[in-house]
Amino acid sequence: MSPNVTRILKTVVRKLLQLLIVLFCVTLFTFLLVRFLPGDPEDLLVPGADNTGDPRTDQIIREQKEEVRSDMGLDKPLPVQYLEWVSGVATGDLGFEYSKQSKEPVSDRVGLALPSTLQLIAYSQIIALGVAIPLGVLSAYGQAGVNSKSKRVRKAGKIFDRAANATAFGMLSLPNFAVALLLAFLVGVKLNPSLPEAIDIRPQGYVAFGEDPLDHIFSMLLPSLSLAIGQIAVYMRVLRSDLIQTLQEDFILMAKSKGISNRRVLWRHALRPSSLTLVTIAGLQVGTLIGGTVVIEVIFNIKGMGYLIFESILTRQYLMLQSCVAIVAVGFVLINALLDVLYTTLDPRIRHAG
């Protein structure tokens, strides 16, 4: 099978090369973007202006700022700064977060922030897919025509589809932060007081799983739900659309003609070829969500990556911002690459088309 192996190797190498180029561009762009943000970081750290008119104080201030600048490495030429930073990121040194007294490694903060964001994404996807897939399958089936002698059942199928569609449509129109606020209100004000003491669903910031599993679930429940609602709508519609088309194909009819049950035809035959778009979009969502959880995290006080980025913009921690955004963007790119690999498993036709 040697020619096959060389072919696979070639594709892998080619893809890796593409990946590296993209990563390079992404990090470069992040670097440049941050460089062009207004204001100099050292101005925030060194109190006092250097233009008071008194030459001595000016001098002192200026020197202090110079010191901070060189400490931050901002006095080096740009390409050097970039290279140092990128090599740092590759090896795990994400730079420092500077405060008036000390500087903390960014990697520490990222280490704390990343898990919560990843968990948030994972939970929201599980909820979203868990609801969207059955909904999508059932509404496609209802729309395509439930195979039943009873006209009423058939009509019910169509009505279900219509209702599901309308709900999805509504869910798409409501921004996830609005959902978050609504849920927070509903639960915090309406629901919580009527629950027993032990259960407190009010989101009070992130609680790690290791600390207290129950609290962890509670703290993540509402945020994940808020994120999931919009996604349920998108996933359901996409799946339903593909499924309806697939159900019209000949091989579905052939499967039926073998005498197997409708349920089996639906889940085993129709679902898999129709899931391609869903997987694409779900994958891309995961990619975008890494940085897209900002608003939800802020609302629910979860100090994840989004929150970190937000904070770093506000506090002008540009080095931290750089590294965080780079991580997020790189994550997105990597996930995309993974998606491509996933395709070949899902659809063998792509595997052989090479």
Binding site: K149, S257, G259
Partner: protein
């Protein structure tokens, strides 16, 4: 519904042709109507058929004639918005009002269908082996090894080399002809008694078509299986079917045993079909005879004969009144006020035989003397494929409005 006879159909002993008086399939006045936004579409109207074990019925018609709908209607593979009326009796049991569960027991085990395009009929993301064994698992009580062995045997019997390797392959890895063989294998997996072949060769290369048809015939002989062969190609059924039914506009317009049909075509549409087949024995550059016009609108069918708009022999009566299906006494049914006739079966069958996908007939047909009597009334040999002027047929209905 007799459950015991449905399970383990493969174990039932094969019966021979003779001694098989009871038809396997009896269809009476079957009509299929589709509900649509603009109104009911009468895709199949008033079809009556009989089919014995081991025999082949050919259903011929152009696109839109309702032939595919007919085969699916008989099997019951119609969508929910289709209404069927009439009667379908399979081995004595009425199937028309059978519920989904009953039908599922029959599908695959008793009746199976071979579809037109093997590329779209096979699940593109499922391995070949799985697609075959799925059918077996549904109806037969085999162990995993038995299923696998059966699948291999099936693939071998349909002429696929290296069957063990094929089991793990996907449909797109096979050629068109092989895919169709796989489809046939899947259809035959549980030993059905009735096979519907819905344009089984239309999507294939001409060179492969004969092989596939031969395969179906061979399997039929081996299993004593009844076959309903649906096609638009009169040439295909000329040598493969025992009886032919010609459909137009959802109705059967002519129906007869094959030799009878070719010896004496009665319906202008059948004649037109025959004439439209390209023939090798004519001088080159002879214009192909196409049938002008379009199929009738099944939403608002015409008042008279459905073929009248395109019929070269149409008379006023044809447009006004729809003819009934009449039997001329020899089991030859046709639906026409002014039937035609093509003489000399020799010319017609021979010319049809030269098409690549039809096997050589040789002497078989020529020695058949079933309709010797009727031959006397036939006007004479066809010249250039054109029949002579309206024949003096023994049929009485012609007498009145002869212009």
């Amino acid at each position: 519904m007799s459950a015991p006879s449905l399970a383990k159909t493969a174990d039932r002993p094969l019966r021979t042709h003779d001694g098989d008086d009871e038809p396997l399939l009896v269809v009476d006045n079957l009509s299929t109507t589709f509900a649509s936004d603009q109104g009911p579409i009468r895709a199949v109207e008033d079809v009556t058929l009989r089919l014995q074990r081991g025999r082949t019925l050919g259903i011929v018609g152009e696109s839109g004639s309702g032939k595919s709908v007919l085969s699916r209607s008989i099997m019951g593979l119609v969508p929910a918005y289709a209404t069927r009326t009439g009667s379908i009796r399979y081995e004595g049991t009425e199937l028309l009002d059978a519920g989904p569960r009953e039908l599922r027991k029959i599908w695959g085990a008793q009746m199976a269908m071979v579809f037109q395009d093997p590329m779209t009929a096979l699940n593109p993301v499922q391995k070949i082996g799985a697609q075959i064994t799925e059918s077996i698992r549904e109806h037969l009580d085999y162990s995993k090894t038995q299923r696998r062995d059966t699948a291999i045997a099936l693939l071998r019997s349909v002429g696929i080399p290296e069957p063990e390797r094929r089991l793990k392959q996907y449909p797109h890895e096979l050629s068109g002809g092989m895919r169709q063989r796989v489809v046939i294998a899947i259809a035959l997996a549980c030993g059905p008694h009735l096979l519907f072949a819905d344009e089984p060769t239309t999507a294939l290369d001409v060179t492969v078509q004969a092989q596939i048809l031969d395969l179906i015939e061979a399997q039929q002989a081996e299993r004593n299986m009844a076959v309903i062969l649906v096609t638009h190609d009169l040439g295909v059924v000329a040598t493969r079917a025992d009886e032919i039914a010609v459909m137009y506009g959802g109705r059967i317009v002519e129906q007869a045993p094959t030799q009878v049909l070719f010896r004496q075509m009665r319906h202008p549409y059948t004649e037109a079909l025959l004439r439209s087949i390209p023939r090798l024995d004519l001088p080159s550059h002879t214009r192909l005879e196409a049938i002008s016009g379009r199929p009738p609108d099944l939403l608002h069918p015409p008042q008279g004969c459905r073929f009248a708009a395109r019929c070269p022999y149409a008379q006023p009566k044809c447009h006004a009144e729809e003819p009934e299906l009449v039997d001329d006494g020899t089991g030859h049914l046709f639906r026409c006020w002014y039937p035609v006739g093509i003489a000399s079966e020799q010319t017609t069958i021979d010319s049809v035989v030269t098409n690549a996908h039809v096997r050589q007939v040789g002497d078989e047909i020529a020695t058949d003397d079933v309709v010797a009597d009727d031959a006397a009334t036939a006007p004479g040999p066809a010249v250039d494929g054109r029949p002579p002027a309206a024949p003096a047929s023994a049929d009485a209905t012609l007498a009145e409005e002869d212009s």
